[in-house]
């Protein structure tokens, strides 16, 4: 297990920069599910040269931004149970139809947070093993979406690496992650390890290797 002294943790991209990198990698016309929390930032960085359709697993396709205070409709919420809007060309469906979009491979990209990602593409992001277990739609998304992007800090605040050889926490899915966007690097999961697609200019490959379990290569 890699555990860096928290004084030695290097500073990487901030979350907005990571969100922008993901936004630039989503192609025109993609159907995308953004996980609750940090991944929601991605939608703010979509350029005008593309139109992206957002899916929310509670039966909403074509999700728009948050409403103004006076336009809140408690029957129009997202998977995080927050009020949202619907854009022209959007539609509603029931839960079995909504998860057919996911399970059936119709969602091109989902972007999720992580607790641990293994070098084989295993993801743990639903349970610390403590407290009341609650999975929501995470297991369906990672099993069904065509591309699973993980948006995460490379190290925990305590300096523990989230990129590991084997996840120690309960899995959300095995061999499901396509790509990891951390504050240090963008890495594709391949059969032979984490392939670095882009490296933060503050970070050397040696440092990246020192804070990442499993094979890291460029």
């Amino acid at each position: 297990m890699i555990n860096i002294n928290s004084n030695n943790i290097l500073k990487g991209w901030d979350r907005n920069t990571i969100a922008e990198k993901i936004a630039n990698d989503l192609p025109h016309g993609a159907y995308v599910n953004l996980g609750i929390g940090m991944p929601e930032l991605v939608s703010q960085y979509i350029k005008d040269d593309r139109e992206i359709i957002y899916h929310s697993e509670n039966g909403l396709l074509g999700m728009g931004p948050s409403p103004n205070e006076n336009e809140i409709d408690y029957d129009l919420i997202n998977a995080g149970k927050k009020p949202v809007t619907i854009l022209p060309g959007g539609s509603f469906c029931h839960h079995a139809d909504s998860f057919s979009m996911i399970r059936g491979g119709h969602i091109d990209y989902c972007v999720l947070g992580a607790m641990e990602i293994s070098v084989k593409g295993d993801l743990a992001n639903w349970s610390t093993g403590k407290g009341i277990p609650a999975v929501g739609g995470a297991m369906d998304l990672v099993a069904g979406a065509k591309n699973v992007f993980v948006m995460t800090q490379h190290l925990t605040k305590e300096g523990k690496s989230k990129l590991v050889k084997e996840c120690s926490l309960p899995l959300t899915g095995a061999n499901v992650v396509s790509r990891v966007y951390s504050d240090y690097a963008v890495m594709q999961i391949t059969d032979i390890g984490f392939k670095v697609l882009q490296l933060n200019t503050n970070i050397t490959l040696d440092y990246l290797k020192s804070v990442t379990e499993g094979n890291v290569y460029q």
């Binding site: 697993e57 408690y74 509603f92 399970r103 009341i132």
Partner: protein, 237 residues
């Protein structure tokens, strides 16, 4: 004689509910959650219920209140945590209530399967995770899937926007969620609708739940809005 599934009194709507029943509760978060039917169920007093829902209640209204009254022995859901989900958390931490956690899409599909007469189906969801433990596996085209079985219920509590006397239902926006599939999966589907209209006003192209899946309906013109109710400190009873 005309078919008319509309009841005037909540007690008539809930008259068949029995101790130990399995009850599906529509809604995802507060949207589409049949709060008035759940309060009716508190008045009714049935005990040892198994609840199938996406969540396990929030605050002390609706499902949260039903659990608070200790009428529920088990919850089957995908996400039993809510910001103010105190009643379930309390009883769960004391070991007083059972929990079966099911991935949300698998939960939806198991419910739909029950309604569609499919006793079991295969899915890749949860393969390789703790939620697949003990489940039968099968390989299709070189990929591993697990067998999931239909989830049936004795009753479904459904919240709709509009109904007619046949029980043709439409919903409002994301309040649709689990309601249509639960209507299919339960022996008795009990509906609260904000408005009951004449059948001439139900457009046959726009019906989401056809009346064949509905047994009883009651009009609840101004249902409680959970967020506001919790903010205002409402508890039931």
């Amino acid at each position: 004689m005309q078919i008319n599934k509309v009841k005037e009194k909540m007690t008539d709507l809930l008259s068949d509910v029995f101790d130990g029943a399995t009850i599906m509760v529509g809604g995802f978060g507060e949207a589409g959650s049949p709060i008035e039917l759940l309060h009716g169920l508190i008045d009714h007093g049935a005990k040892n219920l198994t609840i199938i829902a996406n969540n396990a209640g929030n605050g002390n209204v609706g499902l949260g209140a039903l659990i608070g009254q200790k009428q529920v022995k088990k919850v089957i859901c995908s996400f039993p945590r809510s910001p103010k989900g105190i009643t379930f958390a309390d009883q769960y931490n004391k070991g007083e209530i059972e929990l079966e956690v099911v991935p949300q899409g698998t939960l939806a599909e198991r419910i739909r399967a029950a309604g569609a007469g499919i006793p079991g189906f295969y899915t890749a969801t949860a393969v390789g995770t703790p939620l697949a433990e003990g489940k039968e596996e099968k390989i299709f085209n070189g990929k591993k899937y697990i067998l999931e079985e239909a989830l049936h219920a004795d009753f479904a509590l459904i919240k709709a926007e509009v109904s007619d006397r046949y029980g043709n239902l439409v919903y409002n926006k994301t309040a649709r969620n689990f309601n249509p599939i639960m209507s299919m999966a339960a022996k008795n589907t009990l509906v609260q609708a904000k408005e009951i209209v004449q059948p001439n006003f139900t457009n046959p192209e726009h019906v989401i739940t056809p009346g064949i899946f509905v047994q009883k309906i009651i009009e609840v013109k101004e249902p409680i809005i959970e967020t506001i109710a919790i903010e205002e400190g409402l508890t039931y009873p």
